[in-house]
Amino acid sequence: MSEMKRRDFLKITAGLAAGAPLLAHAQGKPASFTYRPEKGAKLRVLRWKRFVQGDEDAFMAHAKRFSDKFGVEVRVDNEGWEDVRPKAAVAANVGSGPDIIYGWFDDPHQYPDKLLDLSDIGNYLGAKYGGWFPVAEIYGKRAGRWIAIPLGAAGATFTHRISHVQAAGFKEFPKETAGFLELCKAMKAKGTPPGFALGNAVGDGNSWTHWLVWAFGGKLVDEKGNVAINSPETIRALEYAKELYATFVPGTLSWLDPNNNKAFLDGQISITNNGISIYYAAKNSADAKVKDMVPDIGHANYPIGPAGRPTELHLMSQAMVFKYSKAPNAAKAFIAFMMEKEQYEPWQQAAIGYVTHPLKAYDANPIWTVDPKHTPYRDCVAKMTPHSYAGPLGYASAAAMADFIIVNMVAEAASGSKTPKEAAERAAARANRYYKV
């Protein structure tokens, strides 16, 4: 009986069922995708987990639903977010391991040959859900075909204390870099300083320093991958960083990813860049003092600099299927299934917006409006710039970011251990080593 049901279901193509607009799209293939998992297939999925427990719970529940529906056994391993990259790398190298890995940034662009072509899901999801944000296509596609399906980005905003911003004489959070510096100076004077990570902090450190350099028009490389960091624009950004750093709480040069969360929740800093996890932690805190902070926590998108456009960087995660997988169709079905509205929206809600969607239709997810403080996180992917900007994704961009070239450059100039000019020259020399070929 159940066998019958399953077979029946498999006949239904999801594209037809949804009545998706069969619009023209890349390569003119029909925007339909058939859920056709191999019979009796087993899937191993490796994904990251981070600060929001709801994310993991919902993901696991949906994975189980997938199992029940298609009769595919799914084992999901949840690992610390920084451990996924080395594991994915090993899997790619040795040619065995999980069928699906939810990795980060340019993981798929480091070993595109080892990955299954996912164009059918990419095109299908794009057509069904209002299209992909441009940055999602950059991360997911290589040479015109989808090699990974963006799951979304762990977005960050400038998390701040509303009352402290007002006490510093600002009615609302500045939308431009010039005003932001004024605000930070005023807040420092009031004894409620900002604090941004300048240690080798993989997430927070990379995000805000890239934003800063790009906001002033600086970029590590040009479109062709020639190093272009030693430019007047970068110097201006670094001079700004120096002024900004003077307003920071002491000790930010040593900060790793968790430091700003701790300092903010303890009331020692009043502005920092972070995911929604600070707000989430405050809301769920057993400590009355921390809980009282909740109405005072505000979120603002990163200010816009002289470049005149948003220049945000967030942690983009994407699903890859390895060619060695014995159940490629089941793997594809799993990824698509998790991106469908029935799963994706409740999952985003469970993660209380910790992950921003790559598909435009999910702007309408009620999670973004149920609490106005969630709303800024909705636009993180829309405002995002790829970390390889303005060059291509690949080995060089991965290596440059992993080596903290931008973070170190900003930290050197901000702390005064090097002049902006020296810091930019040093960054150029370091970047040249990776972009030399």
Partner: protein
Amino acid sequence: MTRLLDNRNALGLAFMLPAGVLLLVFLTYPLGLGTWLGFTDAKIGRSGEWVGLDNFAFLLGDSVARLSLFNTLFYTVVASTLKFALGLWLALLLNRHLPFKAFLRAIVLLPFIVPTALSAIAFWWLYDSQFSVLSWALAKAGLIDSYIDFLGQPWAARFSTIAANIWRGVPFVAICLLAGLQTISPSLYEAAALDGATDWQKFWHVTLPMLTPIIAVVMTFSVLFTFTDFQLIYVLTRGGPLNATHLMATLSFQRAIPGGALGEGAALATAMVPFLLAAILFSYFGLQRRAWQQGGADR
């Protein structure tokens, strides 16, 4: 077959075989592979081509790699020296007749028993720029105005990580040296006492010479552990601030795995081998057991 089993040599080989295979598979092969990778341009997901010494030349011209070499040498020399001095001192203290001797000796081992990752997290809190209990206590006592930036300034960070390494490494040195101390025959001290030797002379002319063989072994291990330290740095600083605490081991990982340049990371790891070999040879030839220590005559 029976004859083969009666043959001592054949039997000996057979018994050594499992250990030999284990060493070959889990030690020689990875080491060989790592070394080979260092001479290729392997990236993650792509097996490399032979590039000769390119990686090493590249690293030589890389300011961060050079800095990491300096950091590693500095870290090893300072931490090992202090570990030796403190460990020897502690061993001498523990060798006396103290109340609760067994208990004290057990407790001294604690820092060594706690997993490094855990003790590193404890130090991370101790050194926190906002929540350091050290800074807090000093500030409450009115000794400092602002919190100490343990990990935020290059030199402060170097010494802070060294202090954490010493805390962890001293027990190992102390307990091993204590074992060495207990093998020294009391009659030597009695003879020295009869000759009218002072405490200092006893230490210098009896204890230290008798201890050199075990010092050689202990310090070789200590230097190797320190030179290849990874966990402590990875938890405390990730090599920051401004790469001031990047050791060759941490930089090698950063380049090879998150950075994707397997060949370069492997080359960096391979570059550590000569230093380690030098440390081993130094202690082997410089501090090995002498004939007179067994009652023979010096040649």
